[in-house]
């Protein structure tokens, strides 16, 4: 245990915790926007898998990480359009539709991987960008300022999303539609348009999250996300539908994961114990959700389709 509490080890844990938090944070921010409009998407994990495979395959073929990112985003948008048609246009039950999206993403991403790639080959993503001056600060620089550009971009997105929700007209429409769609409709706000937009943004970010995950890991395999999309949904509840809350949850989760990884590496836990420890983050989330989760903040119209006639 004393190995773990060395400065070098702790710095490493914080640094990799931030890295691990990144895909969950991206997907969680998207899901928060979607839920604020009153739409629950349980299919985040499936969209992440599709985005991850799309990015991975593109990079494998073209060698361009930027192209990979773009493909991940595009896959997310296509899935968002599909989910919008299902839940907004047809008003289908959101819980079950989301599970359908998840299973679709899980199956199709694996099928394409087996057919197109077969054996996992590594890809090269973005090299870490050491921010001038800041990255030179001892320890601090190593923890916070020696990451991939994707990590910085994701954390910069937190205030952007908060601004979008709280300070723009679109954000006002979004909040109104999620709380009382009939009121928004009576004032001429198109509930369908707002919900479609929110779903598209949410899925775009989920696809991007998958792409980031594949690029950071440099690999693809069956069920690469390992349930991170579901954790992203939990983070939205954990963070009480606020971007900063989602970020806090993602960081907590990332740190616990990286701690467990470090304990394994250092042999502090081993064998069956280490598998047990791998569950720790999930367990922690459940405990945190039970203790912290508040129902205040939950959009009142969440999961409820809007039909003007009723």
């Amino acid at each position: 245990m004393s190995d773990f509490f060395t400065l070098a080890s702790l710095v490493f844990v914080v640094g990799s915790g931030i890295r691990l938090a990144t895909p969950m944070l991206l997907a969680g921010l998207g899901e928060a926007i979607g839920q604020r409009s009153g739409v629950l998407n349980l299919g985040v994990d499936g969209v992440m898998l599709l985005g991850a495979f799309g990015a991975y395959y593109t990079i494998l073929e073209t060698g361009s990480a930027v192209a990979g990112i773009l493909v991940g985003v595009a896959v997310g948008l296509i899935m968002g359009l599909a989910y919008g048609v299902i839940t907004v246009t047809f008003g289908a039950e959101q819980g079950i539709s989301g599970i359908g999206i998840y299973l679709f993403g899980l199956g199709v991403s694996d099928l394409l991987f087996q057919k197109q790639v077969g054996t996992p080959l590594p890809i090269r993503g973005f090299s870490d960008w050491h921010i001038p001056f800041l990255s030179d600060i001892p320890r601090i620089g190593e923890m916070f300022f020696q990451h991939s550009v994707l990590v910085y971009m994701t954390f910069l997105l937190v205030p952007v999303v908060a601004f979008l929700i709280n300070r723009t007209t679109f954000g006002l429409d979004l909040r109104a539609v999620g709380e009382n769609p009939a009121a928004a409709d009576s004032l001429g706000v198109s509930v369908a348009r707002v919900r479609y937009s929110a779903i598209m943004i949410a899925n775009l970010l989920a696809g991007l999250a998958g792409a980031v995950l594949a690029i950071e890991l440099g690999i693809f395999q069956q069920n690469l996300t390992n349930g991170q999309g579901f954790i992203a949904i939990a983070l939205v509840y954990f963070g009480a539908w606020r971007p900063t809350g989602v970020m806090a949850g993602a960081l907590l989760f990332g740190l616990v994961s990286s701690t467990v990884l470090q304990w394994r590496t250092l042999g502090i836990v081993s064998g069956a114990a280490s598998s047990l420890m791998a569950m720790a983050p999930a367990l922690l989330t459940i405990v945190a959700l039970v203790v912290i989760s508040r129902t205040v903040g939950q959009p009142s119209a969440l999961t409820r389709p809007f039909d003007r006639g009723k």
Partner: protein, 505 residues
């Protein structure tokens, strides 16, 4: 006709499967006028207004605004055409501020939210029309009266020419109603047209310039307050003469049948909803509880009926202490309960009429033997009660939710009164019920009083409380502000008490 017609609806017809909701309806609103639209539930008022507001498309007929076809086919079009509507259930987002609610949906506001300038204009409008409200307050923190002011400000902010108000006074105290009427009159004088939908005849008579009455989708009369009377309006609405105030027989008051002593009840929000309340009701007496909703009425009724455990105090029914007892014990002590939320607490909507009649007695002989229901006797009983209480239903096997509000209420009353109770609690007995059914329910309550039952009537409708009660207790924030005798009732004083000033007399 020299007066400008702001709105002209002509020959509006709208069919739904099996129902003719509007049948060749004409209605016009002039500049500067308050036009009242009267009618029973299902008479077609809401359909007509939804057509005007672009929520429904008429099958035939024309909507003209200032002489031109309105071209309204969505709420957004309606707002652009200067039409605003204040719905009975407020169209506000509780988690947003007043200013955010006002600016919601306004295209001119740009992509960035600027609630500062909105708040300023809201304050201007507040001052001009006497609509006091804080623009930065969150709507869920506001009282019902304040929320309504927000709705009116929303309409004014959009500079509406025509304002539709759907039963705007249903949730207000008498002083709030007076303030509202002053504001509405001022809005009309500023050159707007107002459509005032209501079933409260007093209010229609005092506010409206003209009155149009709808019955069964057709216009059954157009008149002015000067040319008509409340009785005539009621006749136009129902299609037959209606007795608005039931004849009360001479009082024969007996001993105390129900008592509540220093009752304290905690509400859903964890605060004390009933704060030390004492009451006595005698045999053959109707005690009415007047008050604005949310002042502890629901919690009081639930605590007496055994549906909510009191924190302190005692409840006695026919001499038996039933404080905190199970609802079945309270019932066997002689209590009958007509709940406020009839679809939630009064009947099971999916159950048939016969099943709902039996909800209380189904486990007792002769309706049940060795745990098996006996459908023969159940059917007989249900048929008998449905006939005796004039419940209009296609059959005993009809799902109860398909019945109208008035018939569901009659069904509940039939079930509750069939056991000859010692005490009856009737909460909002005629809310959302047609005038015809309300007349019937009032008559049954007075009859029941004649049989020596002690009756507690809880109602937000002050006219109803005054028509039925021998004594009126006013409740405010869970406390009694005083009890007034039928002979000494003064509406102004009741209004003050409902707003929290205690009985000085």
């Amino acid at each position: 006709m020299t007066e400008t017609r702001l709105l002209e609806l002509s020959g509006i017809t709208k069919r739904f499967p099996g129902v003719l909701a509007n049948d060749d309806v004409d209605l016009d609103v002039r500049v500067g006028e308050v036009h009242a639209l009267l009618g029973e539930n299902g008479a077609g008022k809401s359909t007509l207004m939804k057509i005007l507001f672009g929520l429904y498309e008429p099958d035939s007929g024309q909507v003209l605004i200032e002489g031109r076809p309105s071209g309204i086919s969505s709420p957004a079009d309606a707002i652009r055409a200067g039409v605003a509507m204040i719905h009975q259930h407020f169209m506000l987002v509780p988690t947003l501020t007043v200013a955010e609610n006002v600016v919601l949906g306004l295209a001119e506001s740009g992509w960035r939210l600027d609630t500062g300038s909105v708040a300023e204009r809201v304050r201007d409008l507040s001052a001009r029309y006497g609509l006091e409200v804080d623009p930065s307050a969150l709507v869920w923190q506001l009282s019902v009266g304040e929320r309504q002011r927000v709705e009116i400000i929303k309409a004014l902010y959009r500079d509406c020419r025509l304002l539709i108000l759907d039963e705007p006074t249903a949730v207000l105290t008498p002083p709030e109603v007076e303030d509202l009427f002053v504001t509405l009159r001022q809005m009309a004088d500023d050159g707007r047209g107002l459509i005032f939908i209501s079933h409260k005849l007093d209010e229609v008579m005092s506010l409206a310039d003209r009155i149009t009455v709808l019955r069964d989708g057709r216009v059954s009369g157009e008149t002015t307050p000067g040319e008509t009377s409340k009785e005539e309006l009621a006749r136009m609405m129902v299609g037959r003469p209606v007795q608005l105030v039931p004849d009360k027989p001479p009082l024969e008051i007996g001993g105390v049948r129900m008592a509540v002593e220093d009752l304290r009840v905690v509400g859903d929000r964890g605060t004390e909803a009933v704060a030390g309340l004492s009451l006595e009701i005698r045999s053959g007496e109707i005690l009415g509880i007047a008050g604005v909703s949310g002042n502890g009425q629901r919690e009081l009724a639930e605590a007496i009926a055994g549906l909510r455990a009191p924190a302190a105090g005692r409840v006695l029914v026919d001499g038996r202490d039933v404080t905190g007892a199970h609802p079945s014990e309270v019932r066997s002590a002689g209590l009958a309960y007509v709940p406020e939320e009839r679809m939630r607490d009064g009947v099971v909507g999916e159950f048939t009429v016969a099943e709902n009649v039996m909800l209380v007695d189904h486990d007792r002989a002769p309706y049940c033997r060795r745990g098996m229901l006996r459908f023969g006797t159940i059917g007989e009983r249900a048929r008998d009660l449905v006939a005796r209480f004039a419940v209009k239903t296609p059959s005993l096997e009809t799902p109860t939710r398909n019945l109208s509000g008035g018939n569901i209420q009659k069904l509940i009353l039939a079930r509750e009164l069939s056991g000859s109770p010692a005490v009856l609690i009737a909460a909002q007995p005629t809310r959302g019920v047609d005038i015809g059914a309300a007349e019937y329910i009032h008559r049954r309550l007075v009859e029941e009083q004649g049989r020596g039952t002690a009756i507690l009537v809880i109602s937000e409708d002050l006219d109803e409380v005054m028509a039925l009660s021998d004594r009126i207790a006013v409740i405010f924030e869970g406390r009694l502000m005083g009890i007034i005798d039928r002979s000494e009732v003064d509406v102004a004083q009741l209004g003050l008490m409902m707003a929290g000033s205690s009985n000085a007399a």
